[in-house]
């Protein structure tokens, strides 16, 4: 019986099994060694707790790692990826059983019905993986989406995968012809098809085919495992853990360092990266989804998130021998050779200052890598707090925020002047009388000409709806978003503490603001400073007042309009519907979506403190966006952020485009039928 099982012929005798066993052992040891090295480097990274809220992490892992929710945004890629991924999960068992078969003649993985079921599943998946690989090959060879870098590495790995599948099918096919009694082909339709093709082939040839395929399959398998830790396909091992260890805090909340007790600020060396940031690098398989709507990559800036994350990974790999030597106490007496710093060495300062923190890359990554924003802010912190090296025009904004509580440096005492002739109370004046909501005006809403009009529009809307509200007046100061995102964490924390103190002093519970930057910071970044409030964006409050019938929009605006999503409202806080609901509630107004909208909306170029910097490299982000808006050929474009308004307005003038920008609230004000308002 045993000598009729061809495996015995492959692994000849005891000696053969010993040699094969040794090969397998070496391959396994090499694999463990490579992976252990990678893990030990992580231990040298800065600490970060990613083991909280385990049940939620498990749910997210199922949703994003196994169901691969984000992958299907690109349907074609999503389909072939899940075919190959599914194949890997199913076939890892098959591969291990083949190894054991080589060592123990006559080994059967699962007997009876369970075995038959597995055989069927395996058979189907081998074909599906081949289909997936074919789809991938077609895409790389013909479709060639621009987000992909067509590397040799990718072709090689596709070849290895296809070879694994093909050799297994062919080996089994040949074996089934040689030894028909040992195979029940009803459970393996694909093998049966191969088997039919081999009918009539000489047994010696079949034996040769079988043996060579078996060996090629096993060699491929062992090589593949050892190749992964040294290629971008480490992805295969790292993505599931990386998804499990994802950032669970709101996307718009950056890490809050303890400035009182820190000796180093931000990131400049490889060891300053958190272990999770390093794992991000291991996980990236360079799919390039992060660059598709990246405002800097699209306009010729040196920051391309796909390249950025790969560069950090390369820096980690480069530093690996030294980090490991230091860890094990080796490294000896001679000081290590000077290593390139991340900043200046691997990544240029221009790259670091280019980011608009629009968050597109973060929201696009299927494996929850944070390609740019959080890492770049860490590097900016180093440049600002430790080295005081930053584009000189930022100084004006820093000084303005420090001395006058607004980036323009307008007099702090005139912050409430916009409301002088309006029936608006300050919290100080309202002391005692009940207030439903605090209207957080923001610097732009207080000082910038157009945004002041939007503030007035919101006042009219709230007053007409009978909402009891008040402002902080001169007690309000900049929320600190720009300071934080330009790396001046120290200034941010001062502003945050000051504002939280003021608002907690008044016992504020609910806040409305029309600036998405204020909105994000107060909502997501003030809680660690003890500021916990219900925060609404102006469009959220107004759309709910419309829904309740407290604001009636009846004046017609017979125009076509499109909508430009603010990053910090949409991508960061998932507010996509509220502004659209308002636009759709205005009689006569016809909303038409932009080609890039909602989570794919392109940034205006002002985020991340870019509002306060010169844009000297590449083409203008705001002009790029304005061109997209102009292509919609609508009469106007709705915006919901004072910075977007400035950027879009400037681009409109520069390009001579007709499309007029309006804040959604300005339009709501125009369409509103005023009730008799007691003033």
């Amino acid at each position: 019986m045993t000598d009729s099982i061809p495996t015995d012929r492959v692994i000849a005798g005891l000696l053969g099994r010993v040699v094969f066993g040794a090969l397998v052992t070496i391959a396994i040891l090499a694999f463990v060694y490579s992976v252990a090295r990678r893990i030990r480097v992580l231990l040298a990274g800065a600490p970060e707790n990613r083991f909280d809220r385990i049940p939620l992490r498990i749910r997210r892992t199922i949703e994003y790692a196994f169901a691969q929710k984000r992958m299907f945004r690109d349907l074609y890629a999503g389909i072939f990826h899940i075919l190959i991924f599914g194949g890997f999960v199913v076939l890892v068992v098959r591969s291990l059983s083949l190894v054991v078969e080589g060592l123990i003649p006559g080994f059967v993985l699962l007997p009876g019905a369970a075995g038959n079921t597995y055989t069927l599943v395996k058979d189907v998946f081998e074909v599906l993986v081949l289909v997936g690989v074919a789809m991938a090959v077609f895409r790389r060879a013909f479709a060639r989406p621009p987000r992909l870098d067509l590397t040799l590495d990718a072709w090689f790995i596709l070849f290895l995968i296809a070879l694994l599948m093909a050799t297994d099918l062919v080996a089994d096919g040949a074996r089934s012809v040689l030894n028909p009694t040992a195979f029940d082909l009803t459970w393996s339709p694909a093998v049966a098809a191969v088997s039919r093709a081999f009918r009539g082939t000489a047994p010696a040839t079949l034996q040769a085919i079988y043996e060579s395929c078996w060996w090629i399959h096993l060699a491929d398998l062992l090589f593949f495992a050892n190749y992964l830790p040294y290629s971008k396909h480490f992805h295969i091992l790292a993505s599931v853990p990386n998804i499990f260890l994802m950032k669970l805090e709101p996307m718009g909340r950056l890490g809050t360092p303890d400035l009182e007790n820190s000796e180093r600020f931000g990131v400049s060396r490889v060891e300053d990266l958190s272990w999770k940031s390093m794992l991000d690098g291991y996980t990236c398989t360079e799919c390039g989804r992060c660059r598709v709507v990246c405002p800097t990559a699209l306009t010729g800036k040196p920051l391309d998130p796909r390249v950025f994350i790969a560069t950090l990974r390369d820096a980690v790999y480069d530093a690996t021998p030294e980090i490991l030597a230091a860890q094990s106490g080796r490294g000896g007496d001679s000081p290590p050779a000077p290593r390139k710093d991340l900043i200046g060495g691997w990544v240029t300062e221009d790259t670091i200052w280019a980011c608009t923190t629009c968050g597109y890359c973060t929201s696009a990554c299927p494996v929850f890598i944070i390609p740019a924003v959080d890492k770049i802010i860490e590097m900016r912190r180093h440049l600002v707090l430790e080295k005081a090296e930053f584009p000189k025009e930022m100084q004006t904004a820093f000084r303005g925020m420090e001395t006058n509580g607004n980036p323009w440096g307008m007099a702090a005492s005139s912050r409430a002047d916009w409301a002088k002739d309006l029936p608006v109370m300050t919290m100080a004046e309202a002391e005692g009388s009940p207030v439903d909501v605090l209207f957080w005006v923001g610097c732009a809403g207080s000082y910038e000409d157009r945004a002041k009009k939007v503030s007035r529009a919101l006042v009219d809307l709230l007053t007409s709806a009978g909402v009891r509200f008040a402002i902080l007046g001169t007690e309000e100061t900049c929320n600190g978003d720009s300071a934080r995102r330009m790396g001046n964490e120290y200034l941010f924390q001062i502003l945050a503490q000051q504002n939280v103190e003021t608002m907690n002093g008044y016992g504020i519970k609910k806040i409305v603001t029309n600036c998405p930057h204020c909105f994000n910071v107060i909502k997501n970044e003030y809680p660690p400073f003890g500021g916990r409030y219900e925060v609404l964006h102006g469009t959220e409050l107004v759309s709910s007042l419309i829904a309740e019938g407290r604001i009636r929009l009846e004046n017609r605006i017979d125009e076509s309009i499109t909508f430009h999503d603010p990053c910090y409202l949409g991508r960061y806080n998932d507010v996509y519907d509220a502004p659209r609901q308002i636009l759709e509630a205005i009689p006569g107004l016809r909303l038409q979506e932009l080609a890039r909208s909602k989570q794919n909306g392109l940034c205006c170029g002002a985020g991340g403190g870019r509002m306060w910097m010169e844009e000297k490299i590449g083409t203008r982000i705001n002009q790029t966006r304005m061109q997209e808006i102009a292509e919609a050929k609508t009469d106007s474009v709705g915006v919901s952020c004072p910075f977007c308004m400035v950027m879009i307005g400037n681009a409109r003038e520069e390009l001579g485009v007709e499309t007029k920008p309006f804040d959604v609230l300005e339009l709501a004000r125009r369409s509103m039928v005023e009730r008799s308002v007691e003033r």
Binding site: E393, W408, M410, Y447, E448, W612, E614, V646, N650, E654
Partner: protein, 322 residues
């Protein structure tokens, strides 16, 4: 009130207007003619004019050594005059020369200086000045405390220089005194380039999108040259490539605070105001009456800048020719 002595600044045989302002101010405070001191080489002819602005007596230090400005020489002249006159108060215009002279003189007399005042009045015998602090957001009232001589430097273009019919002042030549120069001015070389740095300038003329195109800079340049000003620009025109970034005034350009800022065809977005909002006098030329620049402007002309700018340049030239 005891006697006033005013330091008169001259270069190349011309008296600085700022000194005449200080002189007029002293006459107003003293309620009559005051003493002045003039140093230089061959400056006798300048004395006559000083009488019209309030000088009753002019101490003149005239020598070869004083032909060019030197700290020690000119402070020495002020010192010599002070010894003869024994003034209770000394006024100096807060020009770069005045800012050099006044503190040196104060140190010699163990006195304080009310620096760069924008207002000055007498409270009994006490000289009280008012000066801007925190970039003009507040004003500080200052006095010289128990100083033996009260000294103030007056900000140029703030106080009026008032000419009146008056008798020719008495001239008192100062005894030649020894100047032991620790540093000597050998010669003065004027800078080759006529372009004044916008960050340093006292007067700035800026052009914005309203000038329509780079071919219209000569029109703005004409006004700029008439005023002896530096050329500024808004971000929009720098971005459009109409002019180099070094001229950009605003949030991400230069932050300036000149005595006079003329904005031609600039709407005055907050990004621009952040760079020039603290200018002392802002003149806005714009065709749009709604333009936010008019909210911060001291003077504004609503009209076509292709008319107003050349007219203004002509008027400035005419006024200067007088």
């Amino acid at each position: 009130m005891s006697k006033f002595l005013v330091f008169i600044e001259q270069r190349d045989g011309k008296v600085r207007k700022a000194s005449l302002e200080a002189l007029s101010l002293a006459r107003r405070l003293a309620g009559g003619p005051v003493a002045a001191v003039l140093a230089g080489k061959g400056v006798g002819a300048l004395v006559k004019d000083l009488g019209r602005y309030g000088a009753g007596v002019v101490y003149v230090a005239d020598s070869d050594e004083l032909a060019l400005y030197s700290s020690q020489g000119y402070v020495g002249a002020l010192d010599a005059a002070a010894r003869k006159e024994s003034p209770g108060a000394v006024l100096v215009a807060a020009t770069s020369m005045g800012k050099d002279v006044a503190p040196r003189f104060a140190a010699r007399h163990d006195s304080g200086v009310l620096a760069d005042v924008m207002d000055l009045h007498l409270d009994g015998d006490r000289l009280v000045g008012s000066r801007p602090v925190y970039s003009g957001k507040a004003r500080a009232e200052v006095d010289c405390g128990a100083s033996p001589i009260q000294i103030a430097t007056t900000r140029p273009n703030v106080f009026p220089a008032e000419a009146q019919e008056a008798a020719e002042p008495r001239v008192e030549a100062l005894e030649p005194f020894e100047v032991a120069p620790r540093a000597r001015v050998v010669r003065i070389e004027a800078s080759e380039t006529k372009e004044i740095d916008v960050a340093e300038a006292d007067v700035i003329v800026s052009g914005g999108r309203g000038i329509k195109g780079p071919e219209n800079w000569p029109m703005v340049r004409d006004l700029q040259e008439a005023l002896g000003a530096a050329l500024g620009a808004s971000r929009a025109v720098v971005d459009a490539g109409w002019i180099d970034h070094q001229h950009q005034v605003g949030q991400t350009g230069k932050v300036v605070s000149p005595t006079l800022y003329v904005a031609a065809g600039i709407s005055g977005a907050i990004q621009h105001l952040a760079g020039m909002g603290t200018s002392k006098v802002i003149v806005a030329l714009n065709k749009d009456p709604e333009a936010p620049i008019f909210q911060v402007a001291t003077y504004g002309i609503v009209g076509d800048i292709f008319q107003t700018v050349p007219e203004l340049a002509k008027a400035v030239r005419a006024a200067k020719a007088e």
